[in-house]
């Protein structure tokens, strides 16, 4: 388990990370979202024991991460850096062999073979890293990160530049690691990936702006509108719906969908559906309008920037 408590990191006068507190539990994936320069990589580096926080503390599986304990704790951490960082003149297998030695893996050859199989790299094990495509390099770097089967995974922009198939395989692999009990923190710009992959999403912009399940974050921006998709022309049912929501409520119809503001909240939904059915409409879909995670993210960022601009940053 990863526990970060009141983490702050300053570089001279600049504060990169300010009073950030969060936890990543076993069998949990947390996505770290934030714009460039939000402090994601700095947070990752602190959690990996590469740089020390100016203040605050980190614990891995309950053990404080300090300069003294760093060497021991790093055995339990797998850190995928932003750049793959492979040695170009070494083959894939040789790259993994060096890291197996650095982690002191006793059954190195067996583990390397298993990892190569897992990542479908066995046939290319003798290929020099210099000859690999960007996606392949990232794949090898991920294989290297998982080689020692770490309990904690820190992944900095892991799918950056990967094609959809590799990205999908990567997601499946992370899900397997989660099932194996790993605590996983993934920094990403990809909101879709965060939504698909993460149990919780942390939005970072120097401070921790929000941390919650993706659905809960989206619910913060609930619009109070209902989407009703019907067969045929939705415009034919505008008056039916208007009678329930009243003349002041926003109501629109496009080619397939009615979008209606619910002044009375969710409890008006059954009445609307009943009225439509009674009017002969074939209702295909009824759902509350939920903002995309991207909308939530943009909203949080705007709020954060606005607060900072007005000196109200919390």
């Amino acid at each position: 388990m990863i526990s970060a408590s009141h983490l702050t990191r300053r570089f001279g006068q600049r504060t990169a990370v300010n009073d950030v507190t969060f936890e990543v539990g076993r069998s949990e994936i947390v996505a770290l979202l934030g714009p460039n320069g939000a402090g994601k990589t700095t947070t990752m580096r602190m959690l990996a024991g590469l740089i020390a926080p100016t203040s605050g503390s980190i614990a891995i599986d309950g053990q404080a991460l300090t300069r003294a304990s760093g060497g021991t704790l790093r055995k339990r951490i797998g850190f995928l850096t932003e750049a793959p960082g492979l040695w170009d003149r070494l083959t894939i297998r040789e790259n993994l062999r060096v890291y197996a030695g650095l982690y002191g893996l006793g059954d190195a050859d067996r583990r390397i073979d298993r990892t190569l199989e897992l990542f479908a790299l066995h046939d290319r094990r003798a290929t020099l890293a210099a000859e690999l495509s960007k996606g392949m390099r990232q794949k090898v770097a991920l294989a290297r990160t998982l080689l020692h089967e770490p309990a904690v995974l820190l992944l900095d922009e892991p799918t950056s530049g990967l094609d959809p198939e590799v990205t999908r395989n990567f997601r499946m692999l992370l899900e397997a690691r989660r099932a194996a009990g790993c605590a996983i923190l993934v920094s990403t710009h990809n909101l879709d990936e965060a939504e698909r992959l993460a149990d919780r999403v942390a939005v970072l912009h120097e401070r921790l702006v929000a941390i919650d399940e993706p659905a809960a974050l989206r619910a913060r921006l609930t619009t109070g509108r209902l989407i009703v998709r019907v067969a045929g022309d939705p415009a034919a049912y505008v008056d039916v719906v208007r009678m329930i929501v009243g003349p002041a409520a926003a109501l629109s119809a496009d080619r397939t969908t009615l979008t209606v503001q619910l002044p009375g909240g969710d409890r008006q939904t059954p009445s609307i559906v009943n009225a439509l059915v009674a009017a002969g409409a074939e209702v295909v879909e009824v759902r509350p309008e939920m903002p995309a995670l991207e909308d939530v993210y943009m909203h949080l960022m705007e709020k954060r920037v606005g607060a900072a601009g007005s000196g109200l940053a919390d």
Binding site: F11, L50, I51, R74, F79, G85, W87, R89, A100, G101
Partner: protein, 266 residues
């Protein structure tokens, strides 16, 4: 120190070097020059010009500083003097190795962006730097040893009678098995220290060249005959160099600032 980790990194250094043999070309060139120059001056030039070295009274006088037993001919004594002086050239080989290999050690990893994942492993600074020093030292010394073998073999084959036997002295032994490796360690360690404090390999090399200054001074003094390093002096120099290496090792570990390397270098 975990020897497994050092071994793993050392294996990487050797594989890397085997696939990038051109990195050793400067060391090989210096070694070849260390062979060609003395044999050219002491053997080839007098043979082709028809003027034996013993005819030059200045050389005869200067060669006296070598303190050689008087049963050698003037030619042989001068050859012995020259071959002993040129032995100092083998101190330059490791410095070249330092420039060619060690100055890239840390900054090269940083530039290739391989340093961050490396530092995220349990490897300690001392283990990392030990592997870097050994990774440059072993091939450099191996080339030096081959060069030295050819040098001594060449003296046995081509020099005047008695020269090879006179070369087999405590002085030669100290120079080759103590002073040369110690000088190699000092120059490599200094290059690695510099490499971990600058942010591009060219700067590391420019600073690294400074290491050659004391050696150049020593060689000029020796060749001019104004300085003759006895076996005792060489032993003291060797021990002093080892002491300097120990200090540099401690400084290297103390000055290796992971945070600065990761966060300030671009």
């Amino acid at each position: 120190m975990d020897i497994t980790r050092v071994r793993a990194l050392l294996a990487k250094e050797f594989i890397d070097l085997v696939r990038n043999r051109s990195a050793l070309v400067p060391v090989a060139i210096v070694t070849v020059m260390s062979l060609v120059l003395p044999f050219g001056i002491a053997i080839a030039v007098p043979a082709f010009s028809g003027h034996p070295l013993g005819e030059d009274s200045d050389l005869v006088r200067v060669s006296q500083v070598a303190g050689v037993a008087g049963n050698l001919s003037n030619d042989a004594r001068i050859q012995l003097f020259l071959f002993q002086q040129f032995l100092m050239m083998f101190l330059i080989t490791p410095v070249t190795g330092a420039m060619a290999l060690a100055s890239h050690a840390v900054v090269g990893e940083k530039q290739a962006r391989t340093l961050e994942p490396l530092l995220a492993t349990p490897v300690s600074t001392f283990e990392l730097l030990t592997a870097k020093v050994l990774g440059a030292l072993v091939p450099t010394l191996a080339i030096s040893a081959i060069g030295l073998g050819l040098y001594l073999g060449g003296i046995a084959a081509f020099a005047a009678p008695g020269v090879a036997a006179a070369m087999a002295s405590v002085r030669t032994l100290l120079l080759t098995i103590l002073v040369a490796p110690a000088a190699a360690l000092v120059s490599l360690q200094a290059a690695i220290l510099i490499s971990s404090r600058v942010n591009d390999p060219r700067t590391a090399q420019q600073f690294g060249v400074l290491i050659i200054i004391p050696l150049a001074g020593l060689m000029v003094a020796e060749f001019s005959g104004s300085l003759w390093l006895s076996a005792t002096a060489l032993a003291l120099i060797g021990v002093a160099l080892l002491g300097v290496w120990c200090l540099l090792s401690l400084c290297s570990v103390a000055l290796f600032d992971r945070e600065t390397i990761l966060t300030r270098w671009r």
